[in-house]
Every structure is written in structure tokens, then in C-alpha cells.
């Protein structure tokens, strides 16, 4: 019974981080699909969201309002970043664009360092400190929130792309930007929207995970890297595959940490990245799923 409850415990912790990685990985995929840019500052949006939300809550703002406001603020940061850093450099080489996003990541981290310092902060859980007992495993309510919120976000995005007019216009830009332009779709606006939404997803991820693992100026680095691995495992333009990749990374990490030792955690995800890049550069699910969006 002991072994069983440990398994459930690790499973849930893997699903929890997996859903966080998945939200950030979706940001990678959306930005990359629409703009063709690999935004390595993606993880820092999670950091900004978490720290802003913490500050708003500490200033006495109602929790829900604080969450909404911090997501909106990070989306505005994303939009600004797109207009000031990405759009002017649109025609540059891929390498230049990646370096720009790395530079932006340093800027975000620097600003956070000045504003919040190096100490980690705690954000209170969405609904009390209680926990749930499943098969002898203790599962925090915040974990349930993380999983539910990410699943709800995936469903909302899916509906947006499948059912709404504007979602289809975005899909058109992804499939064939030239034809989309000829129909009068403004791809610069789409690019702005894509980066802003990706930033919002990142912020949401940061806010959801902060009650579990805290918030600090440098938290974006690891989240961003893991989500990046997930997105690459999924092939970068395939949203469902990126989500699957994120849960794969989360579960592998969790079980490696629980059954082997915590030292293996990072080694495993980076090992996975190397294997995928070496043997299946189009992603682990390239053959299984075919077309994206």
C-alpha cells in the first residue's frame, strides 16, 4: 500500500508540473506558429505573472482581481515586447531573433531583480491550505487547481481555433501567411495578438504554480527551459503534441525524483531533449498526429 500511495503522489506531482509546463509550452507553440519566432523569454512571463500577482494580493486586492490584473499586465508587457523588439527585427535571421528574445529575457529578469530582489516569495493557495487524500497520497488543492485550470485553458484555446471566426483567421495566417495577407488579414496584428496571448498563458502558469513552489525573479528560467523541451518534443507547431510533451516531461521528472534521486530530475529532461533533437528533430509525435492547429 505504501508503494501505491507513493506512486499516486508522484503521479499527481508530475501532472501538476506537467500542466504548468504545458501552459508555457503552448505559449511557445502559438508564438512560433504565428510569428515563426522562438521566444526564449517565454518562461519569464510566468515569473512576471507570479510576482505581480503576489504584489497585488499583498496590497490587499481581492484574489481573483489580482489574478486577472496581473495576467492583463503581463499580456501588455508581451504586446510591448512584440512591438519594440520582435516587429522591428522581423526580417532578421533566426539567430538574431533568438538572441533578441534571450536579451529580452535578461531584461525581464533584471527588472524583476530590481523590483523584487532575490528572495523567493510565497503566494497563498487559491483555496486554503487544505489537502485531498487519494489512495493514501496527500494532494494539495492547488495541484488540483493547476490541472483543472490548464485543462480548461486547453479547451478554451481549442474552441477558439475550431469555432471562432478570428481563430480561423489566425489558423489561416499559420497555414499560409501569403494567402491570408491577400485576403486582407493583417498578420502584424495577428503576431501582436499571438505574443500577447502567449504571455498571458505564461503569466497564468506562473500564478498557478507560485503557491506550490514560490515565486522569485529567476523562476522563469527553469520553467521556460522545461516548457521549451516539451514544445520541441511536440514538434514546435503542434499544440496537442506540445501538451503531451509537457506532461511527459513533468511525469518523467517526478518519477525520476521519487524513485531515483532528485539529481536525476534535470538530467532526464535534458536527456530527453537531446534524444529528440538527435533522432526525431520534428518531434516525438510527428508521425502520429500529422497536421497541426
Amino acid at each position: 500500500m505504501e508503494a501505491w500511495s507513493q506512486f499516486v503522489q508522484l503521479l499527481f506531482s508530475g501532472l501538476t508540473v506537467g500542466s504548468i509546463y504545458a501552459l508555457v509550452a503552448l505559449g511557445f507553440v502559438i508564438t512560433y506558429s504565428v510569428t515563426g519566432i522562438l521566444n526564449l523569454a517565454q518562461g519569464d512571463f510566468a515569473m512576471l505573472g507570479a510576482l505581480l500577482c503576489m504584489t497585488f494580493v499583498n496590497s490587499g486586492m481581492p484574489f481573483v482581481l489580482a489574478i486577472g490584473l496581473s495576467i492583463a499586465a503581463v499580456m501588455a508587457v508581451g504586446a510591448l515586447f512584440e512591438r519594440l523588439a520582435i516587429q522591428p527585427a522581423r526580417r532578421s535571421s533566426v539567430a538574431v531573433l533568438i538572441i533578441i528574445t534571450i536579451g529580452a529575457s535578461f531584461v525581464f529578469r533584471g527588472i524583476a531583480l530590481l523590483a523584487w530582489g532575490t528572495d523567493p516569495y510565497a503566494l497563498r493557495p487559491f483555496t486554503g491550505h487544505g489537502a485531498l487524500e487519494v489512495f493514501g497520497a496527500v494532494i494539495q488543492w492547488q495541484s488540483v487547481w493547476a490541472i483543472v485550470i490548464s485543462l480548461a485553458s486547453f479547451a478554451a484555446l481549442h474552441l477558439f481555433f475550431q469555432r471562432t471566426y478570428i481563430g480561423k483567421a489566425v489558423a489561416a495566417c499559420v497555414i499560409n501567411p501569403f494567402a491570408a495577407r491577400l485576403m486582407g488579414i493583417d498578420i502584424r496584428k495577428m503576431s501582436l495578438g499571438a505574443v500577447a496571448v502567449s504571455a498571458g498563458l505564461g503569466a497564468l502558469a506562473g500564478i498557478v504554480i507560485a503557491p506550490i513552489s514560490g515565486a522569485s525573479y529567476d523562476m522563469g528560467m527553469m520553467i521556460g527551459l522545461k516548457a521549451f523541451i516539451a514544445a520541441v518534443v511536440g514538434g514546435l507547431t503542434n499544440a496537442p503534441a506540445a501538451i503531451a510533451g509537457a506532461f511527459l516531461v513533468g511525469l518523467l521528472e517526478s518519477f525520476a525524483e521519487g524513485y531515483l534521486s532528485s539529481g536525476y530530475k534535470e538530467a532526464i529532461s535534458f536527456g530527453l531533449l537531446l534524444l529528440v533533437l538527435l533522432f526525431m528533430p520534428n518531434g516525438l509525435f510527428a508521425k502520429m498526429t500529422g497536421k497541426r492547429v
Binding site: Y165, K168, A169, A171, I175, N176, L182, M183, G184
Partner: protein, 241 residues
């Protein structure tokens, strides 16, 4: 309604259009024919706002066209149906048509709806495959879809780039045969770029021959069809069916 005055266009260092003069009247079908690489697609792309002229001017309804943004030119009433159709593989036929009206979608929903019905009336084949992804259509169906998508923008001037490309002779006939009726029904003028010179000249009112970036010959389509130089250069045995 459309006037080009000595328009020059460069692709990087490549001087592609070297002073093109062209005129399209209200409701007219104008054909542009010429060999591969003559600059036909570049000419259409320039009118549609994809490329900017380096010299010369383009007047549409007596006003210079705004350059730099394709969407503004769509708003003015010019729509390009590009070479090789450029269908969105995974979007349905219905979505293609609705997205064709992207610029008007919010302004006049009712009219978009009416146009949707009218376009489907014109292409009854599409009516039967509304939910099919564009990528699964045959070449001829894709071409019709591309034209229908262009019409949904309600252009005053429709630019067609090689609609007969890759289609079987019978399908070419079908597509070309529709063009006149479509212009009349939607009150639009048309520039038709074609490699299939005979079909183009049979369809158009007026025609221009483009060679290496310059107009070398122009006149009424029927006259060009009878012209010896045209017959020799473009209506060779291979094209006689």
C-alpha cells in the same frame, strides 16, 4: 478604373518590370500573357500591394493606391487570386469563403451572408463540399474555391494569376467559361494572367503581351488572336487543341 503609368518594380537588384503602362476599364476583362519569368505575377502582385513600385504610378479610380499594406488595397476593392491557388489545406471550404470576406465581416454581416449564397450559386460544386478541408479538393475545385474566396471580398477589380495552371483541358474550359458571367454578376473588372494564351484571348476584351518586364504588344483580344506575331510566339502547335 485602373491605370498604370511606366511602373518599374525591382526584386532586390533584379529589375523585373521596366516601365509598364496598362489600362483597365469598368467591367472589362484584360488578359496579360507572356513567357515564364516575364514578370506577370510581379505585375499582379504590385497592383495588389504585395510589392511596391520603385518608379511610376498606379491610379485606381483616379486616386493613387496606398502602398505598404495589402489589407488597405483589399479595402479599396482589389483582390488577387494568387498563382497556384494558395488554399488553406486544413480549413473547410466554408471557412475559406467566410475568410474571403474578412475585411467586411464586421461591417456588413447581412451582405456577407447574401454574397455567400450568391457565390455558392455560381459554384454549385462547392455547395456539396462545404465541410471538406481545402487540401482534399481536386485541382479544379481548388481553383474554383480560390476564385470564390476572392469574390467574397467583393472586389471591383479581381486579379487572377494563371487560373488554368495544372488543370485538364476540359476543366480549363469550364473555369474560363465562367469568368465572363462572374464579372457581370458581381460587377467586377478582371485582369487575367495566363500561360494558356488561346483560352485567355478568347475570354478577354483586351490583352497585353509582356516580355521581359515590358509590354511589347497590346490590343483587342480578338485582334491579338488573329495576329501573326502572337500566333507564332504563343499559339504554337503545342497549344492548338
Amino acid at each position: 478604373m485602373l491605370v498604370l503609368r511606366s511602373v518599374h518594380v525591382h526584386h532586390g537588384h533584379l529589375h523585373v518590370l521596366k516601365g509598364v503602362d496598362l489600362h483597365v476599364g469598368e467591367g472589362e476583362i484584360v488578359a496579360i500573357v507572356g513567357a515564364n519569368g516575364a514578370g506577370k505575377s510581379t505585375l499582379l502582385g504590385t497592383i495588389a500591394g504585395v510589392y511596391a513600385p520603385t518608379e511610376g504610378e498606379i491610379l485606381f479610380e483616379h486616386k493613387p493606391l496606398p502602398y505598404g499594406k495589402v489589407e488597405h488595397i483589399v479595402d479599396k476593392g482589389i483582390c488577387l487570386v494568387p498563382e497556384r491557388r494558395q488554399i488553406f489545406d486544413s480549413l473547410s471550404v466554408k471557412d475559406h469563403l467566410l475568410l474571403g470576406a474578412y475585411r467586411r465581416q464586421r461591417r456588413d454581416r447581412q451582405e456577407v451572408k447574401r454574397d455567400y449564397e450568391r457565390v455558392l450559386g455560381l459554384f454549385p460544386k462547392l455547395q456539396t463540399m462545404l465541410d471538406r478541408p481545402g487540401g482534399l479538393l481536386s485541382g479544379g475545385e481548388q481553383q474554383m474555391l480560390a476564385i470564390a474566396r476572392g469574390l467574397m471580398a467583393r472586389p471591383k477589380l479581381l486579379l487572377l494569376d494563371e487560373p488554368s495552371l495544372g488543370l485538364a483541358p476540359l476543366v480549363v474550359k469550364e473555369v474560363m467559361g465562367m469568368l465572363r458571367g462572374l464579372c457581370d454578376q458581381f460587377h467586377t473588372a478582371m485582369i487575367l494572367v495566363e500561360q494558356n494564351v488561346r483560352a485567355a484571348l478568347q475570354t478577354a476584351d483586351y490583352a497585353y503581351v509582356l516580355e521581359r518586364g515590358a509590354i511589347v504588344l497590346h490590343g483587342k483580344a480578338a485582334e491579338l488572336l488573329a495576329d501573326e506575331r502572337v500566333a507564332e510566339a504563343y499559339l504554337g502547335a503545342a497549344d492548338r487543341r
